[in-house]
Symmetry: C2
Subunit: 78 residues, 2 copies
Amino acid sequence: MAETADDRLRLLIERIERLEEEKKGIGDDIKDVYSEGKSAGYDAKIMRQIVRLRKMKPDDRREMEAILEVYKTALGID
Amino acid sequence: MAETADDRLRLLIERIERLEEEKKGIGDDIKDVYSEGKSAGYDAKIMRQIVRLRKMKPDDRREMEAILEVYKTALGID
C-alpha cells in the first residue's frame, strides 16, 4: 500500500515526538547528576554556573568576568 | 589512587557536559525532521503547533481552543 500524504505527516510528527521523549529523558538524566552532586555536598546552582563558564571561550569568559566586576563596582556590590 | 573531591566534582561536571551534548544532538535531529517536513511541503511552524496540541489532554485542548475563540471574538479577530 502506498504511503499517503497523511501517513507521511503522521510519521514525521511521531518521529519528532519520539525524539522529544528522548530529549526529555536526557534532561531528566542531567537533573539526576545535579542531584547526585547535591548529595555529595556540591551546590547545584554553582555547578550550573561552572557548566556555563566551561562552555565559553576563555577570552570571552575573562571579558565577561571583567565587565561583571565593573558593573558590580558601579552598583556598590562588593 | 583514591578519588579526590576535585576528581569527583570534575567527573560530575563532565557527565553533565556529555549529556548536554547528547541533548543538543537530539535537538539537531528534531530540527532535521522539521526540515524534512518542510521539504515535503509541510509548514514547520504548524507542525510545531500540532506537536504541542497532541501533547495536551483532549479536554484541556478543547478548553484552550474554546477560550482562544472567545478572545479572538473579543478582539475582532475573525
